[in-house]
Symmetry: C2
Subunit: 359 residues, 2 copies
DNA sequence: GTGAAAGCGCTAACAG
DNA sequence: CTGTTAGCGCTTTCAC
């Protein structure tokens, strides 16, 4: 059961370990003849180099990491995350790079995890759920661990970013609701410490002119329901609510309905992130498709480039598309205004502009 | 930028590397005094042991792996996978164990990946999407890599299994449909090479007495639509269809509707895996909640036990619950027959029986 | 073009 | 209880 090592292959091929190493990596000239012998021997013995030995020797891991500080349960009910990971994997698969997914309970563990990752366990990290002034950014800079920031990050940084314009779709939705005669439009945001929640909330406040009907949720169904309950109890209750994700929107929708409201007649509802089933709900849910797979691909590519030594870049993956559906329509018959067939297959074709980071 | 190593900590604490190592692991008696010195030094230097060095020395990785041979896109549209991973992570988080997720394009890459994993990159693997007579089982046995098989596997094996009874819910649904007067009930299965698809398909064939209306899909929306189209073109078209996942069911539902059929009046529809939004669809979709999180937790626990040397066990996580909803009801008003509030929170309380493996 | 040897940072005997 | 000493399997100088 003792694993076969590079020494076994060397012996089998009648050369030294160094030669085997170089024959595999091509890092120095090798005669075709010996290379063939080495490859044959490796094949015969089913040898695969030990990643940990290689990591130790080279300080590279052939893996990138995503560290999640959120409750694992959120993974299950979030429409963004699985699709994002799918996009990431589609890029990593090309180079047989592994993705390390680690959920941590608290900040101490998170910091320890990043330190451990930087010691030969991962070549880089993808940072999700960014906060204004996120402590992870300086930490990773200090550790020298390459990273890509997914989402808007305002501070100067040497890292690449994958951004989208989340304010624009919010403005579009508010305008749409206004056009339908709505005057009291509420917003249930995600945790406002997250930049993307904040951007959406700010765009909302800007568009409606006040934050009186802004309520902070946490992306879970429970919070969607609770914040909706609060809003509906107001003397001057809103006639429309924009939620920062579909899970909260649907929880809110269910709650409103069970309280005798008809959607969209009594209450218009819009979500965000466009879950793959949202178009099939009743009423079909107006939502913003945020191109998670495209963003995952972009992030993985930027990270690989960074690891290979490229300069950091900010890539704006502008794949937000608002799908106006029945949940915000006064005329219940109409389906989406924008093309509704805009799904995974077409998202590769969305406009992707690139600009270099100036700072 | 040279990383701080155990030698730095030893120097800082005025002891040797061995002492530091043991102070951290507790693998041999250490005086409280020196332990304190070591911990203080480690803290001061922000030292985290190099995982690759440790892996090399101990042949352990502090990580477990899931290798996926499917198209990354499936991850995004599958309701089982994210919830399963969430369950796995909730167990791994307790011990700060990492999850390695690797998507591979073909069998050669998959085999190479398992070999690489077994060389100190992962301590074990979770096997999903089992096939009858799956080649991975003997491979992992040969490699000596601990594993847990998720799903029914009929061959004798030394690995632990996490099983569920998928036949029973299929029988329940068929019986329910029969009771509503349906006589031509079709089934769109997943790829029949997968054991779980096969089990469901066999249960279906058994229950209806023929496989004339059995069609093989591949869990994608596209196949759900295509197989539904074929079924609806039959002279004697079915009046009910049971799909092997919700994604196919919803695609089928949409297709049938766009062809002028009313659901469930003209066509009853049932899915499998109970996506978190399925209860909110219109009509609400009858589906089988298969407790993915509970299965993920069970699998992770069994794998950790195996890694620590426990004997393999087969755990039957029987958390399948059929939610009868509008898509199969003649009386369109009624909601689920079974409690519909059976969600993540309650799934921990489902009956979980344990039996030891006899072979 | 190939070989020999020195580590990468840790753990685990073996001494004391 | 603590120090010394070999490795784990690979890469990478440095010689030849």
């Amino acid at each position: 059961m003792s694993r076969t090592t590079i020494a076994d292959v060397a012996r089998e091929a009648g050369v030294t370990k160094a030669t085997v190493s170089h024959a595999m990596s091509g890092k120095r000239p090798i005669s075709d003849d010996t290379r063939a012998k080495v490859l044959a021997a490796a094949e015969r013995l089913n040898w695969v180099p030990s990643q940990s030995a290689r990591s130790l020797a080279t300080q590279t891991a052939n893996a990138i990491a995503v560290v999640l500080a959120r409750d694992p349960e959120v993974i299950a009910n979030d429409s963004f995350f699985p699709a994002f990971i799918a996009g990431v994997e589609s890029v990593l698969a090309e180079t047989e790079t592994a993705l390390i997914l680690q959920v941590v309970p608290d900040r101490a563990a998170e910091e320890r995890t990043y330190r451990a990752l930087s010691h030969g366990r991962a070549d880089g990290a993808l940072l999700l759920d960014l906060r204004t002034d996120d402590w992870r950014v300086p930490l990773l800079e200090e550790l020298g661990l390459p990273a890509v920031l997914v989402g808007a990050y305002e501070q100067p940084t040497r890292f690449s970013c994958v951004r989208t314009d989340d304010a624009e779709p919010v403005r579009e939705i508010i305008a749409h609701l206004r056009a339908q005669g709505h005057e009291r439009i509420a917003h249930v945001s995600g945790p406002l410490e997250y930049v993307h929640s904040r951007v959406r909330a700010d765009a909302y406040t800007d568009a409606v002119g006040t934050d009186a009907l802004l309520r902070e949720g946490d992306f879970t169904a429970a919070s969607g329901r609770a914040r909706t309950a609060e809003l509906l109890e107001l003397a001057d209750r809103p006639t429309a609510v924009l939620y920062s994700n579909d899970t909260m929107a649907i929880a809110g929708l269910s709650y409103a309905r069970s309280n005798g409201l008809s959607i969209p007649r009594d209450l218009a509802i819009a979500g965000f992130d466009d879950d793959h089933l949202s178009a099939h709900l009743s009423p079909a849910l107006t939502s913003v498709s945020s191109g998670p797979a495209a963003r995952g691909r972009a992030a993985a590519r930027l990270l690989q480039a960074d690891i290979l030594g490229s300069d950091p870049r900010t890539e704006v993956v502008d794949c937000n598309v608002v799908h106006f559906r029945e949940s915000t329509s006064t005329t219940t018959s109409s389906q989406s205004t924008t093309t509704s067939s805009q799904s995974t297959s077409t998202s590769t074709g969305t406009s992707t502009s690139t600009e270099s980071t100036t700072r």
